[in-house]
Amino acid sequence: MPLAYSLPTDLSPATVVNASSLLRIVALALISGAAIASRLFAVINFESVIHEFDPWFNYRATRVLASEGFYEFWNWFDPTAWYPLGRVVGGTIYPGLMATSGVIYSILHGLNLPVDIRNICVMLAPGFSALTAWSTYMFTKEMKDESAGLLAAAFIGIVPGYISRSVAGSYDNEAIAIFLLMFTFFLWIKALKTGSAFFGTLAALFYFYMVAAWGGYAFITNMIPLHAFTLILMGRFSSRLYVAYSSWYAIGTLASMQVPFVGFQPVRTSEHMAALGVFGLLQIIAFAELVRAHVSSKQFQRLLYASVIGMGILGGLAIVGLTYKGWIAPWTGRFYSLWDTGYAKKYIPIIASVSEHQPTAWPSFFMDLQLLIFVFPAGVILCFRELRDEHVFVIIYAVVASYFAGVMVRLMLTLTPCVCVCAAVAFSSVLDTYINPVEPDAVEEEAETAGDGAVSASSTAVSTSSGSATKKGKKAAPAAQPGPLGGLVSTVSAVVSTKKGEKSRGIFGGDTRLAVLLNALGMLLFFVLHCTYVTSSAYSSPSVVLASTNPDGSQHIIDDFREAYYWLRQNTPETAVVMSWWDYGYQIAGMADRPTLVDNNTWNNTHIATVGKAMSSSEEVAYPILRKHDVDYVLVIFGGLLGYSGDDINKFLWMVRIAQGVWPDEIQEPNYFTAKGEYKVDDGASNTMKNSLMYKMSYYRFAELFGGNQAVDRVRGQQMPKIGPTLDYLDEAFTSENWIVRIYQVKKEDPLGRDLRTANAFEQGKRRKRSKPVARRRAIV
């Protein structure tokens, strides 16, 4: 490539253009490869398994879709979820994800490629991440140029903030939603730039796809009107804006109402009113513009403006009035919690209890975005410098998304593409400035394109190096730091220096350029290393399977969850209802195939509170609740033996809070603390705590495990009493190898009509020589 510079006259412009476009394609292909490859850590380190919680439901739903067909899926009523209420699945999900996999599945089978549906589900997210890279490229191309686009594509391909939700096996709505988000934005920008109803329609279609795929579509629903509104306020109303917005809104809204879960919300809820209001405003303005074109009277125009503003205010008031009259639903709790971070904790503990809904910690910005977060503001400022319509969009996007990402961990995801775009714009500006061989006053068309080519070449180098770093990172695990890095830096710098050596002339000294470029490349390299490291260590754990390291450094797989779920599947009748905290509902349904009381689709607060109440009250109180809901087994997660901190005792206070929200007279949070206000599980624990079902199930027979020594809960670091709790209404049915999952069977009513505590006392009162069969228990190692 350095040759391209030194021989500008030998190459025809066509050759340069062809070469650069070829390089772009190669670069994009490599970026896609890197994006997919870096998401495969999870499959390589563990196995091809569905991750976490929600993906298990998506996977289950997809299996239904693949085996029963679309109409059955559409009408799917799941009687095993939310027992006994059941769940109208077809009407309460965003079917875009399942439909996508279903279509891929049938296409592959149509081609006689009998791929398992599970593999499609596992690989969907990496596949779509490649598409995201491409759409980010397109989007950024609209902002600046192709080279910035390639940089942005490379960034989004490997940035941990996006990888966190799209590793192989993370089969969640976000997997395809980010692609749709970026592509819809790209189409919107395109429609706005060209003023073409075609792109507007396309944007509406992809908006429809997005609505069908993710609840976060409301972000688009509000971003685009906000952009349009800002443009109007800036006095940039144009017919192009009218065409783009009107065609997008009219078709997109009608289309979005086809999704059963969304239904009439676009005309009924406050979240969608901004879009409707801007739509109305645009109509009025457009009409006013039309009239103005035909009339010259100044006074008339003034009146016209007054009436336009008046109507705008009237429309706003009408929306407010309708909200008060109940025609338009006010904002939902989740939405409020975006403005007031304390809101959910006060009023809706169920929302606050979700870890994804917590405010973001500062380190996670660095962890997820690394250097991009520092370059990001520079990119925003560069957008201000040009401030075309699309730059306004990026600026608004950056501001809004930054705020939301700070409020909720989960929304980091929407910020990530914007950060990548801005950082790419900034980076590419730096590289452009310092690679461009043309002296500032000399303007030469051909050298410009050559410069472009050089930039794309450098980003190719980046992406290839990212690919190799990924491979090396895999081999050398987290320990590898300076070895391969040094090598890479030297080779890359060699390339750059040869390039530079010929380029350096004129008032821009070669050494200055070299220093800046080296610095920039070094930063990019560190970014790649960081991404690889974070991805492999933090974001590739399926959380269904845990890994720990043995003293000799080898990996030890802890597979308690699957062990327990398969125990349920093999040893219990198919209709046995399993009660657990809602976190595990989808996994039980997916892996154990048993009915559950509550699951991760937290639509019914009362039902969850019922489970919370059963868990947090004493056995006598809990038993009628369990019987009423036909519960056969109760499953708890206990990490005290292994030190697994995500266990139910640590979540217990949320159960108490949620139950308290519904039964404030029966469950009170302060009762679960010690007199000093500490949350303890040892001897000092309060009586309410010790009598609660959750406590008893967690620590039942725990002390026996230590054979007379002091029992220690390794999560909370507390010493447990020697005599553990007793259970009268439940029987221990199963405890997994590392005690992470414990399953209890709910006893049936006593045949003699006694309460079970009395019956149990009778059973134990006289030592029976012929004892009943005890619950089978594994030998504890």
Partner: protein
């Protein structure tokens, strides 16, 4: 425990269904036939619905001959009696967690110790495994005394038998003629008074108790060795500290129907069954009711009489005959339950339509519908009901829970999901919406017309379009 018995119900239902299927395809060899053959073979000998083997545990002091009328009567009805004393280790009542006998008669009220297989706990285990118990107690404190408390029977303090000085007679005050209630569901018709001596018991509130014989109103529990008139009552009250052991609310013989189906009968004194009392003339010189009373009690305890069972239940859409695996809200659904009663004379299960007041509940968390389940006229043993499914989706249960004193309990639960209508089951085109349909269609039509005019306008004169636009 009752898990087992539920499984047994399911088995029964399954077998019934198998039999039904076999009627259609006779070539099929069915396990049901084999089982039913066994069942009938057994029934030819014994009249009990659960089996004919009986273990009798007798005190070493008493011999079989004391109760020869009772035991011979049982053998005559086909039971196989095995005798042992409380301290014998063999034959065991329960081995490898499996009951060895269908019924156990515990006529050992004097023994203080039992061999290891007879403990209060193992007796409860037996009962929960559907083995029936006939237990006699005495004024002595034995392990059985503590067991009685588990059945919500409260025995008086040790050494205080039932005493009655009325009516005046030549027998000791502890040997009492007791009038038998004519309307008791366990007993066959009205019986002459029976002779009784032993302890009474008070009842705790427990719905499973079936009182069979109550104490005479003038009787009370007292220390009979030093029977000192009215003081005895007061003393007894002081001694026990548990109130006054007197009056007709005390029970002498009480049955107990467990949830799992097993039956236990507690008798305050073993002499009730003895030959001596069976022959002892009553005050008016007639034969006492003891022999018939004992036979009735044994028949009820060993599940000969008052035994009902659910043969099966089905449900179907009102216009169909086969059950659906789910119903849509507001469907009309017919629920049918078939009930049989055991006939001890023919040793067969016969369809039984005589149940009154059975209720069907259609439950999701709470009963959404609770209504009477009436016998179907013309079809013996069948009870059915047609009703509209509530306008609420979820997992519902058809729930029948029939519990009456003296009868075995009828319980049937069928789970069925109720789903919202499918996407194509909603009414499609509604009359109030015609302006909207018209609007949409006219828009499309106008769009097509507009396109045509537009394309035509490319070549033709634009003036023409003005005139046609009015439609």
């Amino acid at each position: 425990m009752s898990t087992w018995s539920v499984a047994r119900w399911l088995q029964l239902i399954q077998h019934w269904q198998l039999r039904k299927r076999c009627l259609h395809s006779s070539a099929m060899v069915s396990p049901w036939r084999f089982l039913s053959f066994l069942g009938f073979a057994a029934a030819a000998l014994a009249k009990s619905s659960t089996g004919n083997s009986v273990l009798v545990v007798l005190d070493p002091g008493s011999s079989r001959d004391n109760f020869s009328r009772f035991f011979d009567g049982l053998e005559a009805r086909g039971y196989e009696l095995t005798f042992r004393t409380p301290k014998d280790a063999h034959p065991a009542v329960i081995e490898h967690d499996h009951p060895e006998y269908s019924h156990v008669i515990l006529f050992a009220p004097e023994s203080k110790t039992y061999s290891s297989d007879i403990t209060p706990q193992s007796l409860v285990t037996l009962l929960s495994k559907n083995t029936n118990l006939l237990i006699a107690v005495s004024p002595k404190a034995t392990p059985l005394t503590s067991l009685a408390a588990e059945f919500s029977l409260i025995l008086p303090p040790p050494g205080t038998p039932l005493v009655s000085h009325f009516p005046e007679r030549d027998t000791p005050a502890t040997v009492i003629p007791v009038d038998v209630s004519p309307s008791n569901p366990v007993l066959s018709g009205s019986l002459p008074p029976v002779w009784f001596s032993g302890v009474p018991f008070a009842f705790n509130s427990n719905p499973h108790i079936v009182p069979i014989l109550n104490a005479p109103p003038q009787s009370f529990a007292a220390d009979s060795d030093a029977d000192s008139g009215a003081d005895a009552v007061v003393e007894a009250a002081d001694k026990g500290g548990e109130g006054l052991w007197a009056g007709s609310s005390l029970g002498l013989v009480a049955g107990f129907q467990t949830l799992g189906g097993g039956r236990a009968t507690w008798v305050g004194g073993v002499d009730l069954f003895s030959d001596e009392y069976a022959q002892k003339p009553t005050l008016d010189g007639n034969k006492p009711g003891n022999e018939q009373f004992a036979a009735d009690v044994a028949a009820w305890t060993f599940q000969e009489t008052g035994v009902l069972r659910v043969d099966g239940s089905t449900h179907h859409h009102v216009n169909e005959t086969t059950p659906r695996d789910r119903y849509t809200i507001n469907d009309r659904v017919t629920y049918t339950l078939r009930v049989s009663k055991y006939n001890p004379t023919s040793a067969e299960w016969e369809p039984y339509s005589g149940i009154d007041g059975m209720q069907l509940e259609f439950t999701m968390l709470d009963p959404h519908i609770r209504t009477a389940l009436q016998p179907t006229p013309g079809v013996p043993g069948e009870y059915s009901l047609t009703f509209r499914v509530p306008d609420r989706h979820g997992v519902f249960k058809f729930n029948v829970d029939y519990k009456r004193k003296g009868w075995s309990y009828l319980q049937s639960t069928t789970v069925v999901p109720v789903v919202p209508p499918r996407h194509d089951e909603y009414p499609r085109f509604l009359s109030p919406a015609w302006p909207y349909y018209a609007g949409a269609i006219s828009t499309s039509a106008a769009f097509l017309a507009f396109c045509a005019l537009w394309l035509a306008g490319d070549s033709a004169e634009p003036k023409k379009s003005k005139s046609t636009k009015s439609d």
